[in-house]
Symmetry: C2
Subunit: 164 residues, 2 copies
Amino acid sequence: MEAFDTLDYRILEVLQKNNLTSQRDIGNAIGLSAPAVQRRIVRMRELGMISADMALLNPELLGPLITIIVQVEMETDKVELVNKTKLKFRQTPQVQQCYYVTGEADFMLVVVVHTMKEYETLTHQLFFNNPGIQRFKSSICMDIVKSGLTLPMPDAVVKAVNNK
Amino acid sequence: MEAFDTLDYRILEVLQKNNLTSQRDIGNAIGLSAPAVQRRIVRMRELGMISADMALLNPELLGPLITIIVQVEMETDKVELVNKTKLKFRQTPQVQQCYYVTGEADFMLVVVVHTMKEYETLTHQLFFNNPGIQRFKSSICMDIVKSGLTLPMPDAVVKAVNNK
DNA sequence: CCAATGTACGCAATAAACTTGCGCAATTGG
DNA sequence: CCAATTGCGCAAGTTTATTGCGTACATTGG
């Protein structure tokens, strides 16, 4: 009742690549009926294993967009201040991703804006107006070589599929 | 025939958040019939505006996963070598995202692995075995504060929706 | 100015996919 | 050994997606 089994992972593997795959097709691929697949998917949604279903858009066609990787360094590591900063990043639409990391920088951000002017405004909002932030370094993206949020499946699943 | 209009962008805005939204619901939201929405979606898929449809999985529940941000610095900027390196990154499943950027580093990678041992093996494959790579810096992710690939809509669209 | 063309729409019908009820088999626990 | 639980497949029911068709509107060319 608690955990997920290999069949679940194989369903996830498919949905992660294409969540419009019909339950019938998934069923055929893994040896289950469509309703069985459906019930597993519902369950995985309820348990939060599948957290969202989204369409991936093409940045090239959506208009001129600038992607910037920002490394943010904080003055102190006060928990309260860090949490407040996290919240701010989370709430900012232009911040596509935010990682709290070890090393020199404290945060790594992936920011998407329409213009450099918008980015400048954003830096004021996020960094200059924030007392806890010491420094930030921007790396402009010239090429999105690869983009995705695909996660690797547990080793056991990978093996099971390869041995088929 | 060529471009996209405001209605298209509003459809994209919805699908980007939840691509399981029914065409009827989208239609009601923007004042179109379901078939009209359907035809626009088909067209946007054909033109590559919608490049994929995927389920987002929960890293916490999928098992122990380690996310690492890697900054890669190359020795030379020879086009040939850069392209070869891009290809290698693109083909590596553990590389979730790869950005070719300006600044100190040449590449920014988001890497996801099951164990540090796997990461060590990966660094050998990707970096030590690659003559063009001078140095790389790893930042271990302690918290995925925000994750997504949502793109901002053209300003005109945003305004149009807010004024409704 | 008026036809001809193309494009996008809505409605209605069809097709496909999802969802649910039900009975059965396998496993688990008393 | 029996009752309870779990997950399955099948078949029916429901919703959603897709397609055919006629119409409206804008653009173009005579």
